[in-house]
Amino acid sequence: MFNKLDMSALFICVVSPFEQVRLSLSSAILKNYENLLILSDFDLSYYKKQLLQYEQLCIILPIDIITPSITSTAKSHQHSIIPFLDNPKPICKKTFEVFITPRDNSAEIFNKIDASVRKKKINDVSETLSERETEVLKYIAKGNSNKEIAANMHLSPHTVMTHRKNITNKLGIKSISGLTVFAILQNIISMDEAAM
């Protein structure tokens, strides 16, 4: 069945003239993100023609092809730009707070994309969970599936998924057992209630 493209989902675009860089970056990114575009070349006209349709977009590209017009286009569309570079140069640190290097592993890349995207989307976001998210977390830690959580909280499974994504983004914890440890440490559930 044909699935309509979810334009509100985050798309990652990786640009590099080098096959090896494209290969290793995309394999690392695909561990955490589903929507990936891989390009060997990139310029402003391609950006304007092909990519402006994406609501949430993060472009990872070599520092030497980033131009001020690319940066300003990204800014006006709330897209993220993350430079990819072999050695973080001081000038780059000043312009970009986040950059990806060849030595980053998938978790580090995930954290950097996440930091960069959230900065663009939400300013001064509180890292504390909302009441709803805390409730979803409680159910997760007790071992409930998305379906069960949706039924208990009278939500759609899609909304539960969104809450789960937000919880992971805020806490930096993805696995069920990791979330359970967090829930116990924060006294959201007791040790006896945990599914661990």
């Binding site: 090896q20 561990k31 592993n105 978790a107 806490l171 993805k174 696995s175 057992s177 440890v181 440490l185």
Partner: protein, 241 residues
Amino acid sequence: MITLNTRMADLIFADVFSLSILDRLNIKLGFGDKTIDNICQSYKINPKLFLQIVRLFLYNEVPTDIEENKKLLTDLIKYLRITHDYYLRRLIPFIDDNIKKLEVKEPDRIKDIGLLKKFFNQYKAELVAHLENEEKNVFPYVLELHQAYNSGRLDNSVIDKIRHSSIVDFEKEHDNLDEKLNDLKNIIIKYLPPFENHFEVIQILVTVFQLEKDVYEHAQLEDLMMVPVVRELENQLFKNV
């Protein structure tokens, strides 16, 4: 750029954590001005493979030349097995020991340490199951395939295995082993209340970082170096059936 003619000492100066690669290969220090090539020859280690491993470690450079990788396949499997042993014999016990030390030194923190221990034990069980599957099923299959390719003899049992346990299945099953380690880092850094015995906690954390990077590179060697070669061998062998 590190080459076969680089002095082994300079590799350590480039990144001290490359010592972990030498440690698992049982390469001892005190190598004077000997090159990577010299040392590899004297320890009977394939220098080309060593260079690929080091370059992946230092520059995240993935070796993608299938023909070259085909020649390195047997030695690569040996290295992957040595790395499994390194996790189980060195890194995991080191983390375990430091959790035990914390338990002894801070008995009033039994609940927090218990949680940490339980989480790490779950990760350990997943890692061990994953490594066992590779040792018992994946590597023997890859070596059998390689042997069949080299000898040109393809018996029915190999054909059956290609049909029923192709490397494509392995790729699907290749779990995200670094996910839990990233969670563990966050739990220790951000959410566990501070311990009096900070040194043990830092030892645990540094080793988790090291293990996470190593497991990630290990998966890259398997996914991007071994798997494409095996897929090619499967295709080549199947063509002749």
